[in-house]
Symmetry: C2
């Protein structure tokens, strides 16, 4: 490609709304432009990156035996009613009516359509395993589209759906996809972790998130550097290194005045205690019924864990008014002692505490030396805390670290959730009709781009991994109007093109500085400079974007040197 024929509208300024590096750089380097909130054009350079990722995904999916199909984006409401998701999905599901007033959804995911396909076309156990995938636009009416293509309302997704005759086969299919994902993200050059994850509203029995590590990531993952255990915040377990004071003799319960002291910090400061010597009481309404959750003062309640444990539809924190009604005290003074009319659940760490401070259900009053069993009853101890950096790995006991990540892929073991509601059955070897066992597997293509930029950038711009860089090599021709320079530059451009190197030549009538800046901004891994040094000494200067390394190469060694650099960086 000649830069003069391309459209690479690099910018100096970016809109204020661009908060994170990838969003800023995708606009600055001319990869994307906003059409409306959460809707973007991929310009030619952006599309090239997108398309490289699409092809890596396609290759690995095909190798894993998945079959590519194409399902419509417009999906009939009838299918969504079968699974109940027409109502469950809420406003995120984009809906429309056709000229005959029939209702459709723009697919945010395609379980319904593909299960309908499977129940019609898969008849016998002999027809399985099957794994169907497509790479197409998806639609989700995000309440707050942000971070550019990271959280947009229309985005291209690779979604795959496996169908198996039983659980062990379904796990085999899941494993194949898991391995394909490892290959895909490795080939894309991402630094990522496969983490155990919650199944969310897709449902199913277990799932993994593939998280590209990035400080700007919206998601937190807990990782054990020793054994590799990784899980997202919703799913992570971590043993608290807290030893407790279980051996202490129980002291008499004592009501103490804590005038105007609401927060853990205020109360423990006032009483000269540590946060770990206090038990927080959090009051919730679970499907309209009150419930209390206790965690140690320096721990954080993990709402999702509580929600999942209770198995309710809705879990919301009590309003100030509800707190007063149920605890007979203003917010900040609730405690388990004398708390009636609700069940009390406590985090495991609380079981190691004796003689702790807790609210007295009375304005400006707390208890000191409170103890469970003696002073109040706990219905159940369970894991209710948000794991923290420094917690101990439940698998190997090493200290965990907390990392930020961007979810680029998600695999779900769905089980029979959808095949049951949609009656996707097959005839098994034993002559019985059984439900197909499903899995589903998604990759957000634009997120891979954004994540790669979050991981690869500096003050000058993007630093692409070789495999997804729009071009492998940029030839920066200084003073292209000079006939001799032009001749050298064109000759290597034509040679590289002919030999299959992905190359762009900057043939614009611009200053050297301007061209260098643009080359660094758009992040091409290998830059070859053709200038006077080339004309006078026959030397081509190579600069590597990632390391900044610079060296000069003779004409006859140029191709093989460049080829070597390119090959070295392509993960196979």
């Amino acid at each position: 490609m000649r830069w003069s024929s391309a459209l690479i509208p690099t910018l100096k300024e970016v809109p204020a709304e661009a908060e994170i590096a990838s969003h800023k750089l995708m606009i600055k380097a001319g990869l994307i432009r906003k059409v409306a909130s959460g809707l973007y054009n991929f310009l030619p350079l952006g599309f090239k990156i997108y398309y490289k990722i699409e092809n890596i995904i396609r290759e690995e999916m095909d190798k894993a035996g998945a079959l590519e199909i194409l399902m419509p984006i417009m999906t009939p409401a009838e299918l969504w009613h079968e699974t109940g998701r027409w109502n469950l999905y809420g406003k995120e599901l984009m809906r429309l009516k056709d000229r005959a007033d029939r209702e459709f959804a723009l697919g945010p995911t395609h379980e319904e359509v593909v299960t309908d396909l499977a129940r019609t076309e898969i008849k016998s156990y002999r027809d399985m395993p099957k794994n169907f995938y497509q790479i197409r636009n998806k639609f989700r009416d995000e309440i707050r589209p942000r971070f550019g293509v990271m959280r947009s309302r229309e985005f291209v997704m690779k979604d795959a759906y496996s169908f198996d005759r039983n659980e062990p086969c379904a796990e085999e299919s899941y494993k194949k996809m898991f391995e394909a994902y490892i290959k895909i993200f490795s080939r894309c050059g991402l630094n990522f972790r496969a983490v155990e994850a919650d199944s969310g509203n897709i449902g199913g029995s277990f799932s993994h998130e593939f998280m590209a590590l990035a400080a700007s990531g919206e998601d937190t993952l807990i990782n054990c550097p020793a054994c590799g255990y990784a899980a997202d915040r919703e799913k992570a377990e971590g043993a608290s290194p807290f030893c407790g004071n279980e051996k202490e003799v129980l002291k008499p319960l004592e009501k103490v005045s804590t005038p105007g002291q609401h927060t853990v910090e205020q109360v423990t400061g006032f009483l000269n205690k540590k946060a770990s010597e206090l038990v927080k009481t959090l009051l919730y309404m679970a499907d309209g019924k009150p419930v209390a959750a206790l965690v140690k003062g320096d721990d954080e309640l993990h709402e999702i864990k509580l929600h999942r444990f209770l198995g309710v539809t809705e879990l919301v924190m009590m309003t100030a008014q509800q707190v007063e009604e149920f605890s007979k005290a203003p917010v900040g003074f609730a405690g388990p002692v004398g708390l009636t009319g609700m069940k009390i659940f406590a985090d495991n760490a609380v079981s190691k505490l004796r003689n702790f401070v807790t609210g007295a259900n009375e304005k400006d009053m707390h208890y000191a030396n409170a103890n469970f069993d003696r002073d109040f009853k706990i219905n159940k101890f369970l894991d209710l805390r948000v794991p923290k950096e420094g917690d101990l790995c439940v698998k190997c006991g090493s200290a965990l670290v907390s990392l930020k990540g961007i979810v680029v892929g998600h695999t779900y073991k769905l089980g029979t959730k959808y095949s049951k509601s949609m009656k996707a059955e097959f005839l098994d070897e034993d002559g019985k009709r059984k439900l197909m066992v499903m899995g589903c597997y998604g990759i957000g293509l634009a997120r891979v781009i954004a994540a790669a930029i979050e991981q690869g950038n500096d003050a000058s711009g993007i630093i692409w991994p070789m495999a997804i860089s729009p071009y492998q090599v940029i030839i920066t021709a200084l003073n292209y109007k000079d006939e001799k320079i032009k001749l050298f530059a064109d000759s290597i451009y034509e040679e590289f093109k002919a030999k299959g190197v992905e190359v762009i030549i900057d043939d614009r009538d611009m200053s050297a500085g301007f061209k260098f800046k643009d080359a660094e901004l758009i992040g091409i891994p290998v830059r070859i400079t053709v200038g006077n040094k080339t004309v006078n000494e026959g030397l081509f200067e190579i600069k590597l974007r990632k390391t900044g390394e610079e060296f000069a190469v003779k004409r006859e060694e140029l191709f093989s040197k460049v080829k070597e650099i390119v090959q070295r960086e392509l993960v196979k």
Copy 2:
């Protein structure tokens, strides 16, 4: 691919609604399945064909210098308001609202979005020519979706849009696309014509349709086998070979009784005249005003030509009531003599007629020996007839033929229609701001598939052109359970795969007849049979789908023979 791992659900019966060969065969061969009216799943085999066409298109578009991009399917109403098409498009435009009640259209075409992109990113004459394309889903709420994927409501389209600094450059861009289209459809193996076409509601100054010839085609084209002139019915010109009777002496106008004779056939039969001796009078309302059009009795009025000539928004035939009101007679007796209150336009052929029969604007009465100028005034003679097979080519004078076709591509020279309404300007070399000159170019990918099937099928099934066949070769292994046969079949399967031949092996436990039928149905060009003859004599039987030719080949010659057949049929 192993058939046992694929999903190719061939059928014996097809739904009654499938009227044409391509629709029937796409269902029968397991390429597509209906999801809802006008919405289809492309199953794995169908997708493979689709994807091959996508790649041919991409290659030729890239070669022609077009730049691939990705625009959102959800397009904001504001852009459509700028060109006025939000209101003009009517019910065919699928519309929806987001959670904030903002309006969007699902793009049926993307002039608005791409022009918005161009006006922002193209600043100077130096930035042109530019041609942006994408290959994505489009949406049109067809009033009557039919013929399977031929006229569906969601379909993948390659749409390209060129931007140029002036008319000559725009014509150059148009020509490049025209040539790319010739290459694309040739490579896809279609028998097609590039025909001059009407610009329809996309607008612009001129356009071509690329029509795949097929008896089942919805469109008619007029073609000159001598000079190659081709145009669609809307645009075609054809000189009537009619000589007329211009030399005849004018006879006196005579009112004749034609009781109950309404139609041309009835009237000329009753009066013992030829249809070419009568002039039909057709009455229309043009934007609410009456107008009359005259054509020779054996010609057909071309409504679109009249419509275009009048330059009105709406042209509709008068209702029976309106005919009575304006002609003072029931339908069937209108004529130009004494017809007042409206302009009268006549087809050129009428100018060669003297002493003709025509309606008398009175129930059961006609005139004989009517003559224009003497008996009534004609406002203008112009080309108003539908050209016919046997008409003379306006370019070379040879006889024209009429053919049926399927529109697979359309190129439009748009001029400044969109750049004007959307103010897409650039700074020209002379320092002045000017409007970009545009072209747009579409290909319906599924239509290419359907057209290829319409052109290539027989009683047994599909006959694919090599370039878009899902597989080039099918290995039909008879009795695959026989270890020796399996060994031979697997060995050539693995060899062909490794050497880049696109091959499927039918490894199912089915009868020879069943497998042969399926192979013919799905239309794979080269079939290799592995059976006892292979085991006993070392011979592989090859059968060519297109010609039915059969011959046996030895193991050592097999690959080179197959390679030769494949290469021969791939149009470069």
